[in-house]
Symmetry: C2
Subunit: 181 residues, 2 copies
Amino acid sequence: MRTEIRLSGRGGQGLILAGIVLAEACGVYEEKEVVQTQSYGPEARGGASRAEVVISDQKIRYPRAYDPDILVALSQPAFDRFAPQMKKEGLIFADESNVHTDRKDVILIPFSDTARTEIGREVVANIVMLGALSATTRIVELQSLKQAVQHRMRKVFHEMNLAALDAGFKLGTRIWKKRSC
Amino acid sequence: MRTEIRLSGRGGQGLILAGIVLAEACGVYEEKEVVQTQSYGPEARGGASRAEVVISDQKIRYPRAYDPDILVALSQPAFDRFAPQMKKEGLIFADESNVHTDRKDVILIPFSDTARTEIGREVVANIVMLGALSATTRIVELQSLKQAVQHRMRKVFHEMNLAALDAGFKLGTRIWKKRSC
């Protein structure tokens, strides 16, 4: 069982941090094998930034996400670049206010709106997104994300980011239910 | 031309952050191909934490450091675990106060002592280490590290970390000269 996740957006949206928190949540608190990667090169300098997480119950031989199961896109350029590469059965989550698309299979979620209105800081949209991922997929438990946030971030940021995880989890649950009806 | 670097130590020594800063310095400000990786698994839970950076002038097919050219060890368990895996011509840098060894080929550098005495915060030993790496190896320019620190960290931390880079660079230059005489 191997799951590949690609988190994408623009620089400054905290995708590397989100990748690290997700990897630590699964790898340290859920005892899976996890590799987390970021790549820099001519592509990365084009504007679309990404972090990748590969989760497995076995030793990971190839650590890059070459055929992602889950794509998150927080910006239009990242969506435009990575969404077409996704396999048919892959899940695509995109930020509702930053990404515009006609594709019906894309799950639009107001990550940044929720971060702004519920937490008061759009900068935690990345953490709201992780909470939502936990609710909509089975890749990680909310509790493990909370432990990773507390371990990875300085104390002064705990309250805000734990609230962001909770807000994202609720958001994900709500949207998932709506889609399933 | 491919260079593999393994940064190792214990949790809390900021090795992932150091890996990201180094990767961004080379990949964004020096336009090389770079992949930065952290792995979590039964091994990682054993206590020795690590971040890996692979730098190349060509597309990187295999992103893990399977045969590192450079090892940095900031803790004894990390040194004991990773130093024996190094090839003969590899460079090993270890923290002078945290690592004890009889091996003459290991380059002991007071990263944490310098961080504590010159910057007043041992927590920036990881950044002192990057400055020293820039002085002792040709993998990255000090200026690129400074740009990456400024881009990657919040403004309130810039002054301290830029000073840590400078202190590390001076330290590396001094030690390198001493060894070369």
